[in-house]
Amino acid sequence: MNDETQDTTAAAIDAVGVSRSFGGVTALAEASLSARFGEVHALVGENGAGKSTLIKILGGTVKADSGGVRIAGEDVTASGPAAARRLGVGTVFQELTLFPWMTVAENLFVGREPRGPTQLIQRRKLARSAEDVLARFDVHGIDPRALAGSLALAQRQVVEITAAFMREPRILLLDEPTSALAENEVEWLFGLVRRLRDEGACILFTSHRWGEVASLADRITILRNGTNVATRPRFDEGEAVTLMTGRTIDRMYPDRPAVDEGAEVALRAQDLGGDGLHGVSFELRRGEILGVGGLAGQGQPELFLSLFGARKLSRGHVEISGERARLRSPADAIRRGLAIALVPEDRKTEGLMLPMSVKDNLTLAVLGRISRAGIVRRKREQSFVEEAIQRLQIRTRNPGVQAVGTLSGGNQQKVLIGRWLLAEPDVLLLFDITRGVDVGTKHDLYKLVVELAAQGKALLYYSSETEEIAQLCHRVLVMREGKIVSELSGPDADAEALVAAALREEAA
């Protein structure tokens, strides 16, 4: 902001007064952004602030309704992705763009396959070149002949990132590149980003994790409601949150109410075993928030899905309110007062019917309770929907009409949770409900979790962010390889202790 006039290097990205709306919903309103060569520029803001739209406009896949975009000095406002590519723009989009039924090698080289004298693609050379590329970028354990669709989400993201870097872009756009990555993979990506920056490229990236933004970015631009509100080399977190949300959040995590020692055990798991689970036992009391920690992929999703009846157990049993329950399907679980809000790794498939309305999505699980003789009672439905929207502060204009797919990611997640709250369960299994949502929404969700506990609900809580578990939960079970390896509670359960417990035996 201060020394913009003294800047002698050409602007890599220069977007001025860019607006864009989708079917009446404004995504960008007069947003401007300037980024130089040789810098890492972070773009932060809430879900729906317009980050992804801006990145798509810069990459040429979406056109601006008004405003001007220059890439490396060239006006590309009306050009497509091909022009952006020609100017050296590389992109990693939030929605993955790998071709699932093509091999990793074909994906890496799409559009620039090695050809023989006859102009035909040389398959063997393709696989070998792909091996070389993967080795050059320190990527191991990914077979270039495997179909992209058969890889785990993190691996797909690694391939996508590799494909962008191997083209040696001068301007690289990364839209939430880390949301699917584990910590060591994030380190790997940051190493690549820094190297590319030192070679003089411009890297623009978005992330919801403030730690990443602060450690990687040379400058940060904050977007709110489709407009840039500030650009600076540094913000402190509280200030950034205020600028992003337009409100002051003095304390991120609310106080949790104490658990009554004599509270009824709502859920008892006894020696659960199955695919990915090995003898898991625990008790969960009413009013308690029980955290499930550990590194990603140590059996946590299996545990949640098994408790919900969506996965088969080969061993052990579950007791609900002291009664043994056979959970063979989610329908069984719902009948016994269990509910699950599960946000899977790949947010595209989060269990909402995207083209259907907010109202229909909310009432899906309670249709039986709001109808008589099979006919939905409109009044009752209306009050249910209003209650859920009110309680979760879902931002929607017209719940009866607006399709869930047009809501921002954070609001979609609220709808998902709202659906289960309406079912009034005794036990709620919350799996990574804050994945990929902005700080404001996170704060709302934390308040909700604590409120539910205060009402006497029993909550099992997993999050990919350790800090969250440490701050929110009364007790934490640390899982490793499908087993509970330790249990921490009270002051012992801070984030450091949890990470240490998750890693302990692996170092030995």
Binding site: T97, F99, W101, H140, G141, R145, E185
Partner: protein, 333 residues
Amino acid sequence: MTTVPSSAMPSHTGVRWRSALAQNMPLLLAFAILGGLTAVYVGLFHGQLDAFPGSFEWTSIVNTAMPTVLVAVGQTIVVLTRGIDLSVGGVIDLSNALAATQMQDSVASMVGWSLAILAIGAAFGALNGVLVAYGRLQPILVTLATLAILQGLALRALPEPGGVIPASYSDALANPGGPWSLLFVLAVALGWLMLRRARIGVRIFAIGNDEQAARAHGIPVRRVKVVAYALSGLLAAASGLFLSATTTGGDATAGDVYILTSIAAVVLGGISFFGGRGSALGAIAGAFVLTVLTNVLFFAGIDPLYQSFFQGLFLVVAVLLGAVLGRLLRGSA
């Protein structure tokens, strides 16, 4: 420098072999079905006539299958882009009608009209492509409309069955002296393998996999689609020419059955209707399966009235088998 670990993907040969098998399972299954059905055919033939099928029988099978082979390969290309081409039947109608009414018994006329008919087929295909890609219309609607237009044109060219195809043309394409048409099958297969490795082939697959992603990768999606539909029209016209050569006469409705047989061959060939997945080699096998099946039903003494009943039954069982096998392989791989 860090190393990206990954949820250890075992790469020893056993697993790799297995995943390759799972990937190519639909194709292998198509050929397995063809092999099995051919064995049944030979068995039934021997049981009835106490002899093995000879040159005449094989020639007849290959020549009967050939039009389906050609049109099915074209259909495959369109299906790979996540589309469908119903107009192929109309292209065959028109090709057959034009060949039967226009072709004279001279090399110049035969070559000239063959090229003209191929060009007409490709042009109608390109029209489909333009309407689908640039007009953003549903492929099923567009090709249903052009099908009707083509059927009308064919009837105008040849209102009643008739006309003659020069005998030398029949001999050149569908030589009755031996299964020489296998050479055409081979040529089509080779052409497919080349397409698969050409830039346009990769682009067709990419579009079928994920059109948004293809666009983000700078692939000219609309142009590629036009090419795909044009290729389908071209191959349908070739199919019409071959049909003319084998039937030696004209019938402006002879092509209509190929709408559904081309789709059936694609299904049997294991090509996904969700696009981006499959091989035309499978569709070629599928075309032969349908032809051999007709012969099997004949030798099994099935009343011709019930033929389509059994054909349908066979189709469902074959596709179900493919789905179940695929699930088993993926589940255990």
